[in-house]
């Protein structure tokens, strides 16, 4: 019906754009990470030919990630923060998603709107809100001292890991709940009814039917928030003044904006991207395996 070149032709501008401004920049990061540094100008010199790549800076950066190196602590800390935040997000988010998808009834529409609301509120505004609340004379301290849960006002914003984790959870949890809700909503009610009909208590029906069926949704939501979380640098900067709570993103930020070594910054970025690619590959392999398992049954 249509000319054969029409659809590829339509796709051309966008594809070209993404190649020039997405793929090529990626390659530029690699070229800088595997490049050299001009000793006089202290500027990074990218090397474009993969055969001539200089692994010096990369090995230097890798060594700093080894136990004892300067990045080791940050890397471990980042992983800990992300894992703990993810766990908390799931702990809070799963019941919410479950309730809205299975039990909400008349309030479902209202709850869905409330669920989507944080997406349209700027991330920074949500962090600003907490910075205000956690200020020395903010509502949190006032409430805690008023109810005598705390002896005197605590410094929440001075470098507390718990504050960073709280901020990460607060910031990213909406991105987990929505896909989780979508996955749970898709589960056919008749599966649960069948389980109850065959004698399972509500708890067992949940553990043996709902939970397994929602695995894909949990995994998808988890991937959706951990990938950006690993690159987060602004959250620690906003709610914590101290380097003691810095994440790997802060290191990258530092090397590009603070010091004279963009090459190391590029190297860290490459390693971060590689690490996330591995995570992503694991996720896709799990999904692939899950769908094939279903078919064999």
């Amino acid at each position: 019906m249509y000319r054969r070149w029409l659809w590829p032709g339509f796709a051309l501008p966008g594809t070209l754009w993404l190649i020039l401004l997405f793929l090529v920049p990626f390659y530029a990061v690699l070229a800088v990470a595997f490049g050299t540094v001009d000793p006089i100008l202290q500027q990074p010199v990218p090397i474009w030919n993969p055969l001539e790549w200089n692994v010096g800076w990369m090995t230097e950066t890798l060594s700093r990630f080894a136990p004892g190196g300067t990045f080791y602590g940050v890397a471990i800390r980042t992983i800990v923060y992300v894992v703990v935040s993810l766990a908390l997000c799931l702990l809070i988010g799963y019941p919410v998603a479950y309730y809205i998808s299975r039990h909400a009834g008349r309030t479902k529409n209202v709850l869905l709107i409330l669920l989507i609301l944080p997406f349209w509120i700027s991330y920074l505004m949500r962090m600003l809100a907490w910075v205000n609340l956690l200020a020395p004379d903010g509502y949190v301290n006032r409430f805690l001292t008023f109810t005598h849960l705390l002896g005197e006002p605590r410094d929440w914003l001075g470098g507390a890991p718990s504050t960073v984790i709280l901020a990460l959870v607060y910031g990213y949890i909406p991105y987990l709940i929505l896909p989780l809700y979508a996955a749970l909503d898709r589960i056919d009610r008749s599966h649960l009814e069948a389980a109850r009909d065959l004698g399972a208590s509500p708890l067992r029906a949940f553990l043996h039917v709902t939970l397994p069926l929602s695995k894909a949704g949990i995994l998808g939501g988890a991937v959706l928030i951990t990938l950006p979380m690993f690159g987060d640098y602004y959250t620690p900067n906003l709610v914590s003044g101290a380097p003691a709570t810095s994440m790997i993103g802060n290191q990258i930020d530092l090397y590009f904006h603070g010091g004279p070594q963009p090459t190391i910054g590029a190297a860290i970025t490459v390693l971060l991207a590689a690490f996330l690619t591995v995570l992503m590959a694991y996720y896709m392999w799990t999904i692939h395996r899950a769908t094939h398992e279903v078919r064999d049954v």
Binding site: W17, A28, S122
Partner: protein, 309 residues
Amino acid sequence: MTTVAERQAAPSLSTWERVRGWVTNPWGRPRFLVLVTWGYMIWAIVPVLIAIQFSFNASRSRTTWAGFSTRWYWGDPVDSVWNDPGLRHSLEQSLKLAGADVLIATPIGVLLALGLARWRGRGSRPANFLMLFPLVTPEIVMGVSLLLVFSHVFTFVHTGTLAQILGHVTFSISYVVVIVRGRLFSIGRQYEEAAADLGASPTSALTRVLLPLLAPAIVASAAIVFAISIDDFVISQWLSSGEDTDTVPIQIYSATRGAPLPSTNAIATIMLLVTFVSILLAFLVWRVFTRGERRAAQSTAESMGAFTV
């Protein structure tokens, strides 16, 4: 002969069983879940409401309420959003970037969506994969890569507004594609085939049938691109050339780390309003455009009965 079952006395419950029954409530909605859900909603929304409230604070404090005032919006001669040059300029810059982003990313994205959805050839799979990548890439990785590419490859682009626009469009295209493609799949090929069958040339079929049907998705994706661009922080910051090209999120960021005034709350609230209005407009446009399609479920049932007249 049918018989009636005999009534038996109801068993009495201990206090523990009664409490557990109330919380778990097996025949209705488990109250524990209700508490968690509404607790979460309050926890998610209230802090922002408080921040909005304090944007109207009469004093300089963000933590102690001193009465209602609009000084931080336009009243205060030095520090209000209207009068502080830095704040006002950042508002303009944010709107400028968002506007450019919508105007560039939306057409490119619509074309890409059509192309990827219909292209059967060998290049379509890698192109599709490429399109999905920005959606899962952490922003810092994108920020670093764009900064480096403008420093070492496309050196004619310096950090600043042009670089920021290019960066915004790059991550926005994928959102347009995903939204428009969804609508495209629900439309299917049938209407274009019907149009061709009735004598419409391929161009006519596209412009008179497909595009009008696609319009709600295009408008929705434009609104989403606008909202995403307005709220973007990382890319804007990495490609900014200094205070001159700072956007509102960057201002909020610096102020929050330094010495935030209620004017920070005020400009954040303004941004919130702008985002909400654009989303609301898009939603309304979507409803108006798809009005014809939604009555299907009810009307068929109703008029089926009247049809036999």
